[in-house]
């Protein structure tokens, strides 16, 4: 078992994950965190249970199925399971849980980092447009550029640790920041820090990169 996770996802986010209403990048954050956190896994499953009861109580009587619906379904069944091409589980990676490996296309060694200045590197992951997901690499002891936020940003530690003015975040811990927060996280001195960061708004890095460079870096 890993060390204890002390910073969890909120019930709002976990419930929305169960409901299926989050942007893809946020779903990736939840799936990654839950892969490491039994507490949040149990919470997600209990919100699944709530969804089950909502479905159970959806009135079925006033919904009519198309005539021949059952026969059509039996025909689907006779046609065989559609997606039996189950991707074989990848080799376990010390840094990237399974859902992240699927987005990176492999383990931590296959991440295609791009420098964004001050030794910080990032790798943008493919996700739907409503939110973005990227991996961040912060050298041990280095400060993340100070940045403010427009929307919600969640940052989860995958390797190493970081601390901001208030708190210490280790592997599995998630920092959730909203638009009010201006902070300066610093990577722990003992190890380079790798994080998954998702946000539903573009970040504004202050003072480190000029506007044009921000556009190229997509940050």
């Amino acid at each position: 078992m890993e060390q204890k996770i002390t910073h969890h996802l909120t019930d709002d986010i976990l419930m929305a994950y169960a409901a299926g209403t989050l942007p893809e990048a946020f779903n990736l954050m939840v799936a990654t965190h839950v892969s490491l956190c039994d507490t949040c896994r149990a919470a997600v499953e209990s919100y699944d249970a709530l969804g089950g009861e909502v479905l159970e109580q959806t009135p079925g009587n006033d919904i009519s199925l198309t005539p021949g619906s059952f026969a059509a379904t039996m025909a689907l069944i006779a046609g065989g399971a559609p997606d039996t091409i189950h991707t074989a589980p990848r080799a376990r990676d010390a840094v990237l849980p399974q859902p992240l490996q699927d987005y990176v296309g492999g383990g931590v060694d296959t991440i295609r980092w791009r420098p964004v200045g001050m030794g910080v590197k990032q790798a943008i992951l493919p996700a739907s447009k409503d939110a973005s997901a990227r991996l961040l690499y912060i050298p041990a002891g280095a400060a993340m550029p100070d940045h403010g936020h427009h929307g919600t940003e969640m940052t989860m530690v995958l390797q190493g640790a970081f601390q901001d003015e208030d708190d210490y975040f280790a592997r599995g811990d998630v920092e959730i920041a909203d638009s009010d927060l201006h902070h300066t996280p610093v990577a722990d001195i003992h190890e380079d820090c790798i994080c998954l960061a998702v946000t539903d708004a573009p970040l504004r890095f202050q003072g480190v990169l000029p506007k044009i460079a921000q556009r190229f870096a997509r940050i």
Binding site: A16, E24, V34, D38, L50, T66, T73, Q98
Partner: protein, 182 residues
């Protein structure tokens, strides 16, 4: 009116008969109950009737094909079908991928303990009753969280549903499984 707990155990039994015997009568009973609900759920989530019908059929077919994945000690049949419908909804209606958490490698599959199954199914029934007894406005709040893209923030605090017991039961099961792995 049939006792709710018995009914839930009956759905579980149907799933096992589908899994072990490809029992079409059991499947027909599940279909009659759940297919219209899945269709209604999708329509409330913004799908038109013909797409909802198509997806409901796919969901029920998946229910048959993946019957061996159903674990009655961790989910009610309604919950399990809900998760299949939700995933299809994201796939078809929102055209997005849905990353899933890493599966826990729990070693050789074995039949879940019947007492655990009963307990989980009874708690699901309690949860269902608690929702049914909520004031209409609160119930709608929850429904909207699952149907659409509305805000979810107040729900847990406002409603005080017995989600905690299910949560701690699942937690306990996870801990036990992890322990058994060592």
């Amino acid at each position: 009116m049939q006792n709710g707990d018995e009914k839930r155990m009956q759905w579980v039994d149907h799933m096992i008969r589908i899994r072990d015997h490809q029992d079409q009568a059991a499947f027909a009973a599940l279909f009659d109950h759940f297919a219209p609900r899945v269709k209604g759920f999708l329509m409330k989530s913004g799908s038109d009737a013909s797409l909802a019908e198509e997806v409901a059929q796919e969901v029920m077919a998946t229910c048959w094909h993946k019957a061996n994945m159903f674990d009655p000690a961790r989910a009610s049949v309604a919950t399990w079908i809900f998760t299949i419908a939700r995933n299809r909804k994201i796939d078809v209606l929102r055209k997005q991928r849905r990353p899933e958490p890493e599966d826990l490698a729990w070693g050789p599959e074995e039949e879940p303990d019947q007492a655990d199954v009963m307990a989980l199914q009874q708690e699901s029934e309690q949860l269902g009753q608690a929702i049914a007894e909520l004031p209409a406005a609160q119930r709608e709040l929850i429904e909207q969280a699952y149907f659409g893209d509305l805000s979810h923030s107040e729900i847990a605090a406002k409603t005080g549903l017995p989600l905690g017991t299910i949560k701690s039961r699942i937690r306990l099961a996870l801990e036990r499984l992890r322990h058994a792995m060592k």
